[in-house]
């Protein structure tokens, strides 16, 4: 069965003065309409890059890119990686939209929010400026901006951070796209606003039956909204599965370590959070072997230095649950004590 977006073996790298940065390495994932895929990872794990490439927002002149990303549209599937620039541009804002991390800087300070939304609308719809503003007001209303009709002519600086992110969402959704890529949409917002924005995205997703890719470093966010999860480390996917599998039966030491570093309200007392020691690897000239090996506490449990000499393949450990680790399911669960009955 084909899903709406199917990314296969996507590698993105760009040359810098220090060498070739392999930001995204042989990444494959898919997401279907109405579903949410969360891509989780630390800063610099390459989680945004592959999605920018899908949107065609990477620098075409300098970026080296291989693999494919098929959008299975009603008419015919399109590979947005190999498609001409102009074709991809015509899909942006119409079939696929993106919202960004910092709503403070993502809106043009010189144009009213209505103007900016109407501009996106008028790209793909026939209509007067007034129709555009009317549509913008509807969208602002939809994303929960109070008295939208009065605020449509206001400028971005007159809105709070959360409200600006709502404006961004309104702008991204004005042409009813089928795919929404949200690149850390709540990172720059405070916690109460974060959950409002996530709820909003979920509601709109249900209403319009969209595929959503949520890029985040916040596992709390993932738990709230995702159907499937990809955990990325060092430009590669290290684990991917359905949401419950990841949280209750994670198969990769990195995912486990991430989960242990989250504060939990149900654990009281002098319980200390575990930090992952060391630094994430540089994406220039990755070391041989598993990228996580230098920080992994279980390296000694794999025989013959395999972790530092050989890069593990992404293998299916359980049904639809892939992980990039030499340890067997039994080994890792006994080492981490994680196999909670959901």
């Amino acid at each position: 069965m084909t899903k709406f977006l199917e990314v296969k073996n996507l590698s993105v790298s760009f040359p810098t003065e220090d060498g070739l940065v392999k930001a995204s390495n042989d990444v494959s994932y898919s997401v279907d309409l109405g579903k949410t895929l969360a891509i989780v990872g630390e800063s610099g794990s390459g989680k945004s890059v592959s999605n920018l490439a899908i949107m065609g927002l990477h620098n075409r002149a300098t970026t080296q890119i291989s693999g494919s990303a098929f959008l299975n549209l009603d008419e015919s599937p399109i590979d947005v990686i190999s498609a001409p620039e102009e074709t991809v541009r015509r899909l942006r804002g119409k079939v696929m939209s993106m919202i960004f991390q910092d709503p403070m800087s993502a809106l043009h300070p010189y144009f009213s929010v209505g103007n900016q939304i109407a501009e996106a609308w008028s790209l793909y719809n026939e209509g007067s400026k007034r129709d555009g503003m009317k549509r913008a007001t509807e969208m602002l209303d939809l994303v929960g901006i109070p008295s939208a009709a009065d605020r449509v002519k206001d400028f971005p600086h007159q809105f709070s951070g959360g409200m600006r992110q709502r404006v961004m969402i309104a702008m991204a959704l004005v042409n009813n796209p089928k795919l929404l890529i949200a690149d850390e949409p709540t990172t720059a917002l405070d916690v109460t606003v974060q959950s409002q924005i996530l709820k909003l995205i979920q509601e709109i997703q249900k209403e319009f039956n969209m595929a959503v890719i949520l890029i985040t470093h916040d596992l709390g966010v993932v738990a709230e909204v995702a159907d499937n999860v990809c955990v990325m480390y060092g430009g590669k996917i290290v684990e991917t599965s359905a949401i419950d599998e990841i949280f209750y039966r994670s198969q990769h030491p990195y995912t486990t370590a991430l989960l242990e570093s989250i504060p939990r309200v149900d654990q009281f007392g002098s319980h200390r959070l575990k930090a992952i020691s060391g630094q994430p690897p540089s994406l220039i000239g990755l070391p041989k072997g598993c990228s996580f090996a230098p920080r992994c506490q279980f390296v000694s449990h794999v025989s013959g230095n395999r972790c530092t000499t050989e890069d593990p393949e992404l293998t299916e450990k359980a049904k639809d649950h892939f992980a990039r680790c030499f340890l067997s399911t039994e080994q890792i669960h006994s080492l981490t004590g994680r196999n909670v009955k959901a």
Binding site: F100, Y110, A120, L123, H157, M171
Partner: protein, 333 residues
Amino acid sequence: MLKYVTRRLLYTAILLLIVSFTIFYIFDLIPVDPARLICSKQCTPDLVEANRHRLGLDVSVLEQWWRFIQGLFQGRTYGEGGVEDIYCGAPSFGYSFNRHECVSTIIADVFPTTLSLTIGAFVLWLSVGVSLGVLAARKKGKFADRASNVFVLVGTSLPTFITGILVVLFIVLKFHLVNPLELGDWKNPITDPIGWLRTFFFPCATLALAYAATYTRFTRSNVLEISSEDYIRTARAKGLSEKVILRKHTLRAALAPIVTIAGLDFAGLLGGAIITEGIFGLSGLGKLSLKAVLETYDLPIIVATTLVGSAFVVIMNLIVDVAYAYLDPRVRT
């Protein structure tokens, strides 16, 4: 917006009053006595005193300044109430006893030259500077960028008096594109546009060169900076074409600060471009004030040209601020 403009207008009026008084005060401090200067060889203390009275210098600075301000609005009579009295109509900037003319008439005579030079140069440097800057930014690192960089280096390192002399040497004396005898002749741009171009094109180009170079640099760096802003990525994510992104989103933000410096540079030149006027023999405000300061110490002219020059800056400042508020909604408060 209206409230903002009204407030700024009020501030500007107050500022102009302060500026004009400061100018009067400064010239009062200078230990040159104009009453003595215009006194003939058989000078007596009585004559100096009489001159001082005629020039209106026998009252306090404050009084002098107040009479001047009144004269601006009502016109003013110069002399001692005798037959020789001269009336200069509003706006009266004073009377030059040296040239026996109302200063407003003298300024009105030379101002078209200064205005021609300034507007011509302004249009040239703005169009060349901005388009070259945008081109360099779009072709960053490529040939066009490097070529514009050479232009910037040459333009900024050549002082106007060198460029001017080179232009006169080659264009006028060697290639005879302009008749040296016609150099500096005032031509009316409406009745004789070709003649006007002949007189003003090369002076304007000379003056514009240095400005065009800095504007190229400024535009280039602004466009590059704005191009990497998040909101430009947003515009791209919407599906806008590169052309629309550049013209609507990038340039709007990149050129707003250029409005500010362009307005002030323009105003500065309206006060007179001394070097360019000198080289091309143009009689504009710059030459007028230079002569008044160095040769005749014609105080009314000096005060008037200084005041006119600073008034342009102050007023242009107002225009720039209002324009900026129109361009950047964050400024409107």
